[in-house]
C-alpha cells in the first residue's frame, strides 16, 4: 500500500484547488438551494467531464513544456470521421477506435513537427488548429453528420450507480494519467523534459519520443472527448470543439500546471475542470447572464494564478 501512497497524496497545491472548489460550492449553496443536490452535483461532474478529459492530455503536454492548441479541431476531425463510419453501419467499437486513431495520428503530427523538426509548440499547434479544422469542414462540406445510431448513444447515456458513463470514463482516465505521471518512466521523462530539456537530454532521456507521446495522448483524449459529445448530441459537427483548448488550458492552470513546463498535477487539473464547471452551473442556476459568466471565468483564472504566486513566494 505504501508504494501507492504518493499517487493519492494531495500536494499542497491540490489542497488549495480543492479549497477553492469548496468555497465556490458553499457560496452557491447559500445562494440557491438547487445547487447542493445530488442531481445537480452529478450534473456538474457530467458537464465538466469533457473539459476534464481534454485537460488531462493538455496537462501532460504543458508539463512537457509544450502546449496543444489543436485539441478542438482534432476532436472535430475524429467526430466527423467516426460519425460517417457509424452512419454507414460500421460496428460501434471499430468506429470509436477509428476516432481514437485519428486523434493519435494528429498528435503524432503535432509531436513530430515539434520534437523532430524543432518547431515551436504554440506555432505548430496554431497551424494544425486551422489545418485539422479545415479538413473536418472539407470532409463534410461543412454539414453536420446527423442521425447516429441509437445503440451508440445509449452506451454513453447509461449510468453506473449514480454516475453517468462519461464521468466514470474520465475518472478512470484521471487515475491512469496520474499513474503514468508518478509511476512510469515516461511520466518522469515528461517532468524532466519540461523541467530542463537540455539536462534531460544529457541524462539520456529520449526527448523526441517523450514529447511525441505527450502530444499523442492529448490527441487521443481529444478524440475521446469528441466521441462523448457525439453520443450526447447524436450528431457529429465539424465545428465541434471550438475554444476547447482555452478551457483545457484554464483547467490545467487552475490546477497548478506551469506553462513554463516541468510542473503540474492531474488531480489538480481535474479539480480545475470541476471548478470551472461548478461556476458555470451555479451562475446558470442563478440566471446570471452569459456575459457575466465569462467575466467570472476570467476572474477565477487570474485569482488562481495570484494565489499561486503569493503562496510560492513564502516557500
Amino acid at each position: 500500500m505504501k508504494r501507492w501512497a504518493g499517487l493519492f497524496r494531495f500536494g499542497m497545491r491540490d489542497v488549495g484547488t480543492l479549497l477553492g472548489l469548496v468555497i465556490l460550492c458553499v457560496v452557491f449553496s447559500s445562494l440557491t438551494n438547487v445547487f447542493f443536490t445530488e442531481r445537480n452535483l452529478v450534473n456538474i461532474l457530467q458537464q465538466s467531464s469533457i473539459n476534464a478529459c481534454i485537460a488531462i492530455g493538455m496537462t501532460l503536454v504543458i508539463i512537457s513544456g509544450g502546449i496543444d492548441l489543436s485539441v478542438g479541431p482534432v476532436a472535430a476531425l475524429s467526430a466527423v470521421l467516426a460519425g460517417t463510419l457509424l452512419v454507414n453501419g460500421i460496428p460501434i467499437p471499430l468506429a470509436i477506435l477509428a476516432a481514437l486513431a485519428i486523434g493519435a495520428a494528429c498528435g503524432a503530427i503535432n509531436g513530430g513537427l515539434i520534437a523532430l523538426a524543432g518547431l515551436q509548440p504554440f506555432i505548430v499547434t496554431l497551424g494544425t488548429l486551422s489545418l485539422f479544422r479545415s479538413l473536418a469542414l472539407i470532409y463534410t462540406g461543412g454539414n453536420v453528420v446527423l442521425s447516429l445510431p441509437s445503440a451508440f448513444r445509449e452506451i454513453f447515456s447509461a449510468q453506473i450507480w449514480i454516475f453517468p458513463v462519461p464521468v466514470v470514463i474520465v475518472a478512470v482516465l484521471g487515475i491512469a494519467a496520474a499513474v503514468l505521471l508518478a509511476k512510469t518512466p515516461i511520466g518522469e521523462y515528461i517532468l524532466a523534459v519540461g523541467g530542463n530539456e537540455e539536462a534531460a537530454r544529457i541524462s539520456g532521456v529520449p526527448i523526441a519520443r517523450t514529447k511525441i507521446t505527450a502530444y499523442m495522448i492529448s490527441g487521443v483524449l481529444a478524440s475521446l472527448g469528441a466521441v462523448i459529445v457525439m453520443a450526447r448530441l447524436g450528431a457529429a459537427d465539424p465545428t465541434l470543439g471550438n475554444l476547447w483548448e482555452l478551457e483545457a488550458i484554464a483547467a490545467s492552470a487552475i490546477g497548478g500546471a506551469s506553462l513554463m513546463g516541468g510542473k503540474g498535477s492531474i488531480a489538480g487539473t481535474i479539480l480545475g475542470a470541476i471548478v470551472l464547471g461548478a461556476m458555470r452551473n451555479g451562475l446558470t442556476l442563478l440566471n446570471v447572464q452569459a456575459f457575466y459568466q465569462l467575466l467570472a471565468t476570467g476572474i477565477i483564472i487570474i485569482l488562481a494564478m495570484l494565489v499561486d504566486r503569493l503562496t510560492r513566494g513564502k516557500e
Binding site: 499513474v179 509511476k183 517532468l191 524532466a192 534531460a200 537530454r201 544529457i202 541524462s203 539520456g204 516541468g262
Partner: protein, 337 residues
C-alpha cells in the same frame, strides 16, 4: 579593446594592428586586453599583468620575454599533494581526428582504464566542445570515437550513455539538474527504464540504490526526496556523480567539476574523482584551474584554438608548461625561463 580578435582571422588582425599603430601615432591612447601573447607583443609597448583579479606587474614589453610573461601570469606555488595513478595499459577510449567547425580541429587522444586525463587550455580553446562530441551531445564533422576497440557514432547522449560514457556538464543549473525534481528522480533518470516491473517504476529498489550512492558520496543534507535545486552546488555535483554511478558509466567526463563550489566541497569532489579512478573507471577532467588539473590528472591534453597542442605525462607537468602550450602552442625552451 577587450579581446578584439576573438572572431578575427590572422589577416584581419594585421589590419587591426596597423590601425592601432596609426591611432597611437595620432596621440590616441589604446588599452588592449588579450590572452594572446603574440598579439600583445605585436600591438603594445607596455603591459599590465593581472592574475586572480590582482595586478601582478607592469612590464616594458621591449625588455620582457614571452616566457617571463607566462611565469608572471601563472605565478602560483604548486600545492604539494600525493598523487597516485591508477592508470592501466588498457585503452578504453580513443579519439581520432575529431573535428567540429572551428571549435575542435583534428584532435586525437587516448584514455586508459583507471586513468584521469586532464584537458587544459584557455577559455575558448575548444575543451567543452571536444568533450561534448565524446558524450554524444554534439556530432563531429569528422573523426572517430573508439570505445573499447569499437568505432562508435553517437546520435544522442543516450547512445553515449549506453556505451558507458557520461558527461557532468560545466553549467550544472543549465545542463545538469532538473531543478524541481527530487535528488532521487534526478539520480535515477538515465537508469529509469531498466528499473520497471510491468511498466511501473520499482520505487523501493530505486530508493535503496540511490540511498546507497548518496552515502558513498556523503550527500548533505542526506535527504534524497528533497528537490535538487535546494542543495548547494557541491552537493548537486555529488548527486550528478551518483546519477552516473547508478547508470554504471565507465567513462566520466567532468567539465569544470568545481566551478561555483566552495573550497571544502572541492577537495571532496577531488577525492571522489580519485576514488572512481581507483575503482577502474576512466575520467576526463576539463578545467581552467591549473592547480586542479595538477592535483587530479595522470596526463594532460592541452588545447589551443581548437587544436591539441600537447599531451603531457605526469613527469612533464607544471603550470608553466601547460600555460605555454595553452597560450603559444609552442615547445617551451627551458633556458628562456
Amino acid at each position: 579593446m577587450d579581446e578584439p580578435t576573438s572572431s578575427l582571422t590572422p589577416r584581419e588582425f594585421e589590419k587591426l594592428a596597423e590601425l592601432i599603430k596609426a591611432l597611437s601615432a595620432r596621440g590616441v591612447a589604446v588599452i588592449y586586453v588579450s590572452h594572446k601573447l603574440d598579439e600583445v607583443f605585436r600591438v603594445a609597448s607596455r603591459a599590465t599583468i593581472l592574475r586572480d583579479g590582482r595586478k601582478v606587474a607592469d612590464v616594458d614589453l621591449t625588455k620582457t620575454t614571452e616566457s617571463q610573461m607566462v611565469a608572471m601570469m601563472v605565478g602560483r606555488e604548486l600545492q604539494a599533494h600525493p598523487h597516485v595513478s591508477h592508470a592501466t595499459p588498457d585503452v578504453v577510449l580513443a579519439a581520432a581526428g575529431l573535428s567540429r567547425g572551428q571549435a575542435v580541429r583534428d584532435v586525437s587522444f587516448t584514455l586508459h582504464k583507471g586513468e584521469v586525463l586532464g584537458i587544459a587550455g584557455l577559455v575558448g580553446a575548444g575543451r567543452t566542445e571536444l568533450v561534448r562530441l565524446i558524450a554524444g551531445v554534439d556530432r563531429p564533422d569528422a573523426g572517430s570515437i573508439i570505445v573499447n576497440g569499437v568505432a562508435r557514432r553517437f546520435s544522442s547522449p543516450r547512445d553515449a550513455i549506453r556505451n558507458g560514457i557520461a558527461l557532468l556538464p560545466e553549467e550544472r543549473k543549465k545542463d545538469g539538474i532538473i531543478p524541481l525534481r527530487s535528488v532521487a528522480a534526478n539520480v535515477a533518470l538515465p537508469k529509469l527504464s531498466q528499473l520497471t516491473h510491468f511498466g511501473i517504476v520499482r520505487r523501493p529498489v530505486l530508493r535503496q540504490t540511490v540511498d546507497a550512492l548518496a552515502d558513498k558520496v556523503s550527500l548533505r543534507p542526506r535527504d534524497i526526496d528533497r528537490p535538487i535545486r535546494l542543495f548547494s552546488g557541491g552537493n548537486q555535483q555529488k548527486a550528478i556523480i551518483c546519477r552516473w554511478l547508478m547508470a554504471q558509466a565507465q567513462i566520466l567526463i567532468f567539465d569544470e567539476p568545481t566551478r561555483g563550489i566552495d573550497v571544502g566541497a572541492k577537495s571532496e569532489i577531488y577525492r571522489l574523482i580519485e576514488g572512481l579512478a581507483a575503482e577502474g573507471r576512466s575520467i576526463i577532467v576539463v578545467s581552467s584551474e591549473l592547480p586542479e588539473i595538477l592535483r587530479v590528472a595522470d596526463r594532460v591534453l592541452v588545447m589551443r584554438r581548437g587544436e591539441a597542442t600537447a599531451v603531457l605525462d605526469r613527469s612533464e607537468l607544471s603550470e608553466e608548461t601547460i600555460m605555454r602550450y595553452a597560450v603559444s602552442g609552442r615547445t617551451p625552451q627551458p633556458n628562456a625561463a
